[in-house]
Symmetry: C2
Subunit: 445 residues, 2 copies
């Protein structure tokens, strides 16, 4: 395939689609940093990478045979007449993947998946039609240990990304369902879940109004409201106790939540977790613990990491029972948040740690030797490629946020020395060697 | 968006599209290893990451206003009535990106881009409709230093991936064009490039036949054949000299190639490079040096890394001159090759370095502490999540190719010891501590 030559005078406008964007280095460098940190974290915890096609059969992604297709999906008929669509999340493809491959995998199966998804939503601030998701799940273990491991991974992720102030709001869908059954609110429970889920957005009064609409009972609406309302100064286990009683002395889910909490205490991370019974996640496939994550310093930002336990996710594609628990980080949203928080881990999007200047191509081969030696010290080294005046090269370094420069104009090849310049402080270090330079650069980063 | 509930008895077949595939951990783990190694290499050489949308306007990707659309492209009309297509390479989007953003960038601009592309080609062995490409380019420097830097990066890439036997076949399109002009073969030069490019595939005789068809001259066909035929025992500079003479004593491109070669010698990597004047790359946007890469141990595998210099790539989208040089690695093809070569760097696709067994959940919290400590030693540690018999857990470790296991059944929490088992040799190490375990595991990996 090749670019077709067109009439030389006709320039095609280099426009991109609404809701899509180029990722320039100052966005892509921090994003790659986050992805690499998370990937390192997952692999050290026994989670393994998978990938699935960006394009799948529409009926497989939407879980239905035909008829009306969701407008939020990019879908089309391919050249072979197949109805195909771009994946809109990493959860549905994972369910399909499990149904197709569970025989080839040893359970419990712990996977992570970091890649793009596409949605035809109306673009708005912070919402794009193409974005990265980062999912991690454990399938084949329905116990407190698996639930805890996902929560612990979430906590470690936030630590590794240098985020200090965050709250994991957790609840239990099984317990909530037991409560609804106990109160004989059995119809339209999905509708109730979705109303409750909006508590943060629309407030108590509106939630109550909508609950009355659905339950046709002010008493039931009040009962639900009292279940989902957080009490001040109530600890995790106290809330659990109270909700358990409201659910008629429910035992199974209550015990599970107690076990999970004990593991959090044993790991010393319980302070980041709060029981928030208004969390339901809206989606009907959740059956156990559910959670959302809020950044304490950006309270209105919304959840940046959510998920829960689902015991029947793959049931659309297989009769095999595959209970799972998992979590999903919206990477692009998290990146925006980290930028707003001036996060130190993603830090500056400097292109390199040091640039070797090049006023005279006769020093180019020698400069390459310096570059190679500094790269072996794990430094990111750029070598300027044009014969230009030094002030133009300084400008290049400034635009690319490179903090150090090496000048080898009057170099002494016999002694292998050169001078190093801290481009921020303007400090110069004359006639130094590789080891000295590496040390100074590392100190200054 | 949520998965719609369907009639419980109807199972949707978890099928995927022809030419697409799931990437299971035993494929995805080595692929991630390759990507991470290359990414580390690029960033230490001053190359920065960018990304572009998977979906673009069809006319932007195909470089034309309308009419017949290439059948190899996945294209469709989106919900907003726009003609859109999935990118089929990373070169065209880069040209569009440069035209849109060159004002925001400091030149020379060195970028890498590793991501998926899609083509509707007929699927066949080793050819898929979705695959990863890895491109790296330098834009804004038309000199031997930039050409050399790309060649040097290619060489370092192969080193870092543990590939020892490879040959970079290089040629110069400018020199070839000078030769054609000198021989008054000026019409249909693109057609001639494509015929010459097939020499490896179709052989000398068929190339000659096709060249006669196009040039209408056996003399010219013979001249071209003598230009593109490699002579035994002829060194790089000798070939260059001979070709330069065939091109009527051409100077500019000859000097460039000499300078590049001198840098290769100065870096001590010239033995991997051979002048192969039959390399043309077929595409009409190349203007200078061109290259393909062959694995000496898989001679029929075809090129795994190709590219060249183009001085007008972005001219479809801007009047700004943006000379560039770059290279593209077909990651999925390279991965297949490395698997065939039993490459040591991608190595085994083990899920973890060690698994902590779990016969009894009462040791789970203690096991977590061991896991955390070993992870701080940079080890990949899995913690088995179910209460199962040890032989079933051994089986899990075997399927996931995990070489070490830790047993804490009879653990002594006061002394923090446990036993370690080498699952390949069946050797056991009793009552050891974290440091001892970390050392033994690292030795055994």
């Amino acid at each position: 395939m090749s670019v077709k030559k067109v009439n030389k005078t006709k320039i095609i406008e280099p426009k991109i689609l609404k809701g899509f964007r180029d990722s320039l280095p100052n966005q892509e460098i921090p994003k790659r940093k986050i992805i690499n940190k998370l990937e390192r974290l997952f692999t050290t915890h026994g989670f393994v990478a998978i990938d699935t096609p960006a394009l799948e059969y529409t009926e497989v992604l939407l879980g239905k045979g035909g008829g009306e297709t969701d407008k939020q999906i990019f879908h089309f008929e391919d050249n072979g007449g197949r109805e195909v669509a771009l994946r809109f999340d990493l959860t549905v493809p994972f369910a399909r993947f499990l149904a197709a491959h569970y025989n080839e995998l040893a359970l419990p199966f712990k996977r992570y998946h970091i890649n793009k998804v596409w949605r035809g939503e109306k673009p708005q601030k912070g919402r794009f039609r193409e974005f990265y998701q980062c999912d991690f799940d454990i399938v084949g273990a329905d116990n407190a240990e698996a639930d805890f491991e996902i929560l612990s991974m979430m906590n470690t992720s936030f630590n590794k990304l240098g985020i200090n102030n965050y709250t994991f709001c957790v609840a239990h869908r099984g317990l909530f369902n037991a409560f609804l059954t106990h109160f004989e609110v059995i119809d339209d429970s999905v509708e109730i879940l979705r109303i409750v889920d909006k508590l943060r957005k629309i407030g108590e009064e509106e939630v109550k109004k909508q609950l009355i609409d659905v339950t046709k009972s002010e008493e039931k609406a009040n009962a639900i409201l009292s279940y989902i309302t957080k009490l001040d100064n109530e600890g995790f286990l106290e809330t659990l106790d109270r909700l358990s009683k409201l659910a008629g002395g429910e035992e199974e889910h209550t015990t599970r939540m107690k076990d999970i909490y004990n593991y959090l205490v044993s790991e010393g991370i319980e302070k980041h977790f709060t029981f928030d019974s208004s969390i339901t996640r809206g989606l009907d496939y959740y059956t156990g613990i559910v959670y959302e994550t809020f950044l304490d310093d950006l309270p209105s930002f919304g959840s940046v990491c959510s998920g829960g336990r689902y015991n029947n996710l793959a049931s659309l594609y297989t009769k095999q029972e595959l209970p799972g628990v998992g979590s999903s980080i919206g990477l692009d949203r998290l990146l925006s948040a980290l930028e707003e928080l001036d996060n130190s881990v993603i830090g500056k999007s400097s292109y390199s740690d040091v640039v070797i200047f090049n006023e005279d191509n006769t020093t180019y081969a020698y400069g390459n030797k310096i570059a190679t030696a500094l790269r072996e010290e794990d430094l990111r080294v750029d070598h300027y490629l044009l014969k230009k005046k030094l002030n133009q090269q300084f400008k290049y370094a400034e635009t690319n946020q490179i903090p150090f420069g090496i000048i080898i104009k009057d170099y002494d090849e016999a002694h292998h020395t050169f001078s190093l310049k801290n481009l921020n402080t303007r400090e110069s270090f004359e006639s130094i060697n590789i080891n000295e330079a590496a040390k100074l650069i590392k100190q200054g980063l």
